[in-house]
Point group: C2
Chain length 222, copies 2
DNA sequence: CGCCGTTTGTTGCGCTTGCAACACCTCGGC
DNA sequence: GCCGAGGTGTTGCAAGCGCAACAAACGGCG
């Protein structure tokens, strides 16, 4: 993929939203960004050192993995086209574990030197404003969703955790129902409890008539 | 306090770190920032609508509180001089509760219109770069600490939560020991469990010889 | 079709944990 | 001095929950 095609794809990304294709091309030159391709299973990026660059996935699917001292891999996040990753955006390297981004399919990635974000834009000042706004929006969106999860996890019982999760998502949907974006197994991971215990509680809640569940659609009663 | 004195105080804040007093004065004019004083107990700021401004606490102490539907107030955060608060930085308004910042003592606050952060800096371009870097650093630092707490909360048992918290903080201190920044009561809140249950487990752990605790200093064994 | 991996659903056992109710200490104000 | 507020430390009890071990349904694939 050449720079021109990359610019078209970047226009769809969250980081370059609202910036014209032409301006993006200009910014890519200015920042000395690089386009790179990866095959399924290849490691796109690892956060051991201080590789200060931001990556935008413009094609394919990838995942952010944690590798602990024993070599166990845990998927922290699934990245789709348009998603952004990077030192500033990838948190959790606190226990000293390694973090890396791995291609799940054939991926195309644009790497942007991190200092470009805050650089003094001699020739790209106009579009920089939008770029910075997007960057701030991305990180604070990330923080928002982290804080949302803490909100859920701060409840003591499984029932309260579920109710909290359901309530938040119904509020987001501005309705008394919403559709879960993932499986029950993943939900149990999200709220950090045993899946079977969660299923048991979910059964109780249905029996008590506080929720109705059809496939992945959850409905809160009253 | 006049603008000049405010600029001196701002130089110490996290948001303006690395920017000269003179440049800050310039930026305050440019952004039409306002300096305001508050008495103990006064509400500095509330996040119900979309008040898009960033506040820097340059004197006194304040707290970020959540007020739920029943009127119960929970302290989410303590703010000291130099700390920054604002829409982008204050998360958690997810359950529809109100959030507000309340003065704990006599406070001086500088309010900066939020769009200044990403504004196209006709006359302040040079210092803007540092300002944006600081802003990004603040938010991503916030996200980092949120993610740290999730790391802790994602453990199932109290023992594992404690071990996780201790390990992370020892790693931060680059030692086998560290000093807790708060009381045991607050620690129980942080890891979201019953205080008495935590004390019981802490006793067990001391007995098992995996930790030593003296006042607020925690030491991990082996 | 048959085989596979993944997700869903269920149950019993027993430890862990939350809850309530204590007693004790320190600190600061009056 | 006395008092109250807030932190610390302990205990009994009931139940919530994790864990292990199942069975069954689903979807992809040769």
């Amino acid at each position: 993929m050449d720079k021109c095609a990359a610019a078209v794809a970047l226009e769809e990304s969250k980081l370059f939203a609202g910036i014209s294709e032409e301006d993006i091309k200009h910014m890519m030159d200015c920042s000395k960004s690089k386009v790179q391709k990866f095959r399924t299973g290849e490691i796109i990026c690892t956060f051991e050192g201080s590789s200060d660059k931001v990556g935008v996935l413009i094609g394919g699917e990838a995942e952010l993995e944690r590798v602990d001292y024993a070599g166990n891999r845990t998927v922290l996040e699934i990245l789709a086209a348009g998603d952004v990753f990077g030192q500033t955006l990838a948190f959790g390297n606190l226990t000293g574990d390694m973090l890396d981004v791995v291609a799940r399919s054939c991926c195309t990635v644009v790497f942007i030197p991190a200092d470009f974000v805050s650089s003094r834009c001699s020739n790209a000042c106009v579009r920089h404003a939008q770029f910075v706004r997007n960057m701030l929006g991305l990180i604070s969106g990330k923080a928002q969703s982290l804080s949302e999860r803490i909100e859920v996890l701060s409840n003591r019982s499984i029932r309260d955790k579920l109710m909290c999760y359901f309530t938040i998502n119904c509020a987001k949907a501005r309705a008394d129902r919403f559709t879960m974006p993932f499986s029950f197994t993943t939900l149990a991971d999200y709220i950090c409890c045993d899946r079977s215990a969660m299923m048991r509680e979910l059964g109780q809640m249905k029996e008590d008539g506080v929720v109705q569940i059809d496939k992945r659609e959850v409905r809160l009663i009253s």
